[in-house]
Symmetry: C2
Subunit: 202 residues, 2 copies
């Protein structure tokens, strides 16, 4: 009944938003939005699948032509969500899911407020600590700093439509899938087209 | 995370809201709200399951003590949704589903605005005509009158949160089930309790 919808899956690092998106596209009929970056591809990464790998010149051109839903520079590399690809798929009635950090999600909310914003939460801070510690690459101080940042990030949750606690991964994926299904049944402007059709019929 | 939610399943006669509710309670963990009535039980109807069968005196007492989420008098009999039963179950974290006509749903929206209002639509007016004609009890004029009324009723759809087109019954039930699941992931005041818990943990 409605056009394609854009689902923005976001949340603090370690909450599991990447895994949720990966499993979601296996489970339901939805396309994953692919970011553009100036970072060099790592072994095994495929252009157009993991990222669109482009030169800095091309990236800046795209910025200047207002071609991103959001972009950011991280550790000297640019990352962005190309607007045209996403909007074209939505117009073709394809749902899209986009995995992004909280800063990026807030930018998308400005550039595409019709998006549906889903915040992924870890089941608890102690569980998040365990997940980060499991990666083994950070000191106790680093971890405490990260958890403090997470707490700050979580305060942006009121900008989101939904929040899914990622305790058991399949349950979390099922919840996101239910959100995508429910959102297609929202009363929206499209409904008036259907009502108009009823009137013609009678 | 949240308390029980009240889902109000409503729509024009013939759209199939009764069948949807019946299948929904078989499929997911939700209780059907039972109405109170002064009408006499028909053979096979069970008090407390199909209706709470009460005297007119008792019904009017309940009206006077503000004990209904909504009530109406139809062909000389009273029908109403007893407030206490519904609210108690919601407080006990039980989800409730309530099948009701459009006038009733609009009254519930006033008495319990936190409810989630789902409008069930027939796939087309010609399909609705077929369903009504199939019942065999009405003349052509009656049917045209009914369809005209349906069209008026459909204009209240903008008071609702969701609308589900009942073409294939199992697909419609799945949609309502997805709505119940998604609504439990809405960002609401409850989320701040979880965040407070995070803060204590850190």
């Amino acid at each position: 009944m409605s056009k394609g919808l854009l689902f923005v899956v976001s949340g603090p690092s370690g909450a599991g938003k990447g895994t949720i998106c990966k499993k979601l596209i296996e489970k339901i009929d939805i396309d994953l939005s692919v970011s553009m970056t100036t970072r060099k591809p790592r072994p095994g990464e495929i252009d157009g699948k993991n990222y669109y790998f482009v030169s800095e010149e091309k990236f800046i051109q795209t910025i200047n032509s207002n071609g991103f839903l959001e972009y950011a520079k991280v550790y000297g590399n640019y990352y962005g969500t190309p607007k045209e690809v996403v909007l074209k798929k939505l117009e073709q009635d394809r749902d899209m899911v986009l995995e992004i950090d909280i800063q990026g999600a807030l930018k998308i909310k400005e550039s595409y407020p019709k998006g549906i914003f889903i915040f992924i939460l870890p089941p608890s801070m102690s569980e998040l600590r365990k997940r980060i510690t499991g990666r083994g690459s950070e000191t106790e101080d680093d971890i405490n700093l990260r958890l403090g940042e997470t707490l700050k990030e979580v305060s942006y949750i009121d900008k989101y439509d939904y929040c899914v606690v990622n305790g058991e991964i399949n349950e979390a994926v099922n919840r996101v899938a239910a959100i995508t299904k429910a959102e297609h049944s929202r009363v929206s402007e499209d409904i008036y087209q259907l009502i108009a059709k009823y009137k013609e019929e009678i």
